[in-house]
Amino acid sequence: MRLKLALEVLGLLALAALIAVMPQLVSSFTAYEMATVGMYFIALLGLSILTGYSGQISLGHGAFMAIGGYTTAVLSVNGVYGHHIRDLWTIPIAGVVAGVAGLLVGIPALRLSGLYLALITFGIAVSFRQIPLKFDHFLGGTSGKVLSLLKTPFGLSATPNNWIYYLTWGIAFVLLVAAWLFVRGKPGRTLKAIRDSEIAAASSGISLARYKTLAFAMSAFYAGVAGSLYAIARGFMNPDVFPIVLSVYLVAALALGGVDSFLGLIVGASAIYVLVNRTADVTQWINHLPAVNLNPQRPGMPDVIFGAVLIVVLIILPTGVGGALRRLFGPLTSRLYSKS
């Protein structure tokens, strides 16, 4: 077991090194794109704790991201008693506000499970957008709130794009380590026990209420942080920044990456990015295939492609990319373990 731990730590260090050097290798705009991938990755980490470990499905995580985004927008644009808060400091606040919202949702979630919980959370995602429209003087309505521009603070020499990249992936790394420490110890085992059988877990003396709401609050905290970063990077927030369909994309990306594989989630996060932002390009890539001639301007085309990819991946790799990686490296590492 010690070897497994060493390998995992080594993997994390390798990831940290890769994150650190990446902006040197790519263009400034690509760094900005990768920062966005990092934001989806953070949201997926939280969702993975909730769904992958505690087994609760949420179709409402886009709403928690929006709560984070609006917290940042309100604190940095309206301020508190006219006191504008620098966007950087709004990130933890956004996480906490979303986390509290998650806790509140987590309480009724105790009585529901499976499909019913998914429906309730989807209801939250659908209805959340009405809040900024209702309070449009405060939250900007459809026209939204324009935040201050993305700037590198503290006289650092990085370009704004590299700054948001390092900020996002720095936070992502810390939250990844936190999630890893959380799930590899007793809480992780407890959540898995709940996932596999609530009755068995409860009869072993596990407090279902405490752990299920904790998982909800944690995952909402992650989503809030991700939403806050997204609003900072865009300098703009309105109800459509995190559309209803994003909540569905997040769950699909989770399946794509592998529900309980943290590193596989980077693939899932990239998939969301491509789907949201690079849809026309995807159609053009697919057009390079023989006998394919699709019109990238046609609405809905990217969704069809995403759906098709998702179906194919889940047929070939039922445990997602993360599961496939584990299967690939599993024989190798288990041999190493047995020798140690």
């Binding site: 459809t142 026209s143 865009r234 309105n238 459509d240």
Partner: protein
Amino acid sequence: MLAAAVPVTAAGARPLATPGVTSTEIKIGSSVPLSGEAAIAGNVARGIDAYFKYVNAKGGVFGRKLKFVYLDDGYDPGRAVNNTIRLVQQEQVFAMFSSLGTSNNLAVRKLLNDAKVPQLYVSSGATTFGRDYKKYPWTIGYIPPYSEEGAVYGQYVVKNIKKPKIAVLYQDDDYGRDLYAGLRRGLGKKAGAIVSKVAYDPTSADVQPQVTQLKASKANVFMIFAFGKFSLQAFNAVSRLGWKPQIFVNDVSSASALMSIVPQNAANGSISIVFGKDPAAPGWRRDKGIRLFQSILRQYGADIGSRDLQDGYYTAGMATAYTLVDTLKKAGKNLTRDGVMRVATHLTEKNNPFVLPGIVIHTTSTSRFPLTQVKLQRWSAKSWHPFGKLLSIKP
């Protein structure tokens, strides 16, 4: 000797190449709705694209071909932000041009001005784009300001309608609010004639409930300050409810393509303003500008059907594209972002073939509303009929 030395110093003094400009190409970006509620207006961008291709076929601007990159934002400001960041940073466009929508342009105005990227001739008549140039010197509008358009309708009502009782449907953003505020100003002392007003959110599904509510106020005048599908729905609702008010419909929703598909019992007699030549109006059928428009669209447009040849959104795109090409030509061979803004704010263009004869597109450094002359027009027998004199509506 001296003459030979000048270009050398000029070239030497230029520290950095202008983004988006090479010796063979000028790259122009835009974010427009090609899907969603306002998809019908996406033809503005397609019209621009066709006109640029026509200019390119004739040798371009100082030998540089115009490359137009336009991305779909579904009329959503959030996606417009994504598109704009991508066009500026990745595509490295020289300028953003004719992006559509008030909120969409407001959402990116700060970032474009900070990056000193021209935000040229935005497809929105919100007054702020022409008025707030001190804060946003890299931004300029194009179409007549909505506030002045609203005032024109107000003045018309005061002069021509006895005992008016006005109902207003408007979009709940700067676009709708500008029109509404202008209407009140145009009505002057008679602003009390507005008996009911209802705003709708641009992401609503249907405005029929709002129209029903407005009809209940027993108004005899109905102002439709709504865009795209909402305008269609408003006409449909008027017809379905059997309401017979004098309708005023705002310019950006008055394209013949749109008016001819709504119930004609509601549409007939509607009043709007006009500044561009309408390819669907019988009066322009033999006009040189409209013939040019149709031949360009046939030759350079993509998937052009007979309906497209009568679609005013394409003409509107070409009118703006004509002004941009004019601007780029006047900015000279040594094209810079500074230079293009200087020309765009010192413009006198008398011969745009796609706008009404007599209209002069004119700007100065303190008056940044290029189009400030309009005519009134009335809808009947499935087409618009301009009437009255050219009105000057300078804010």
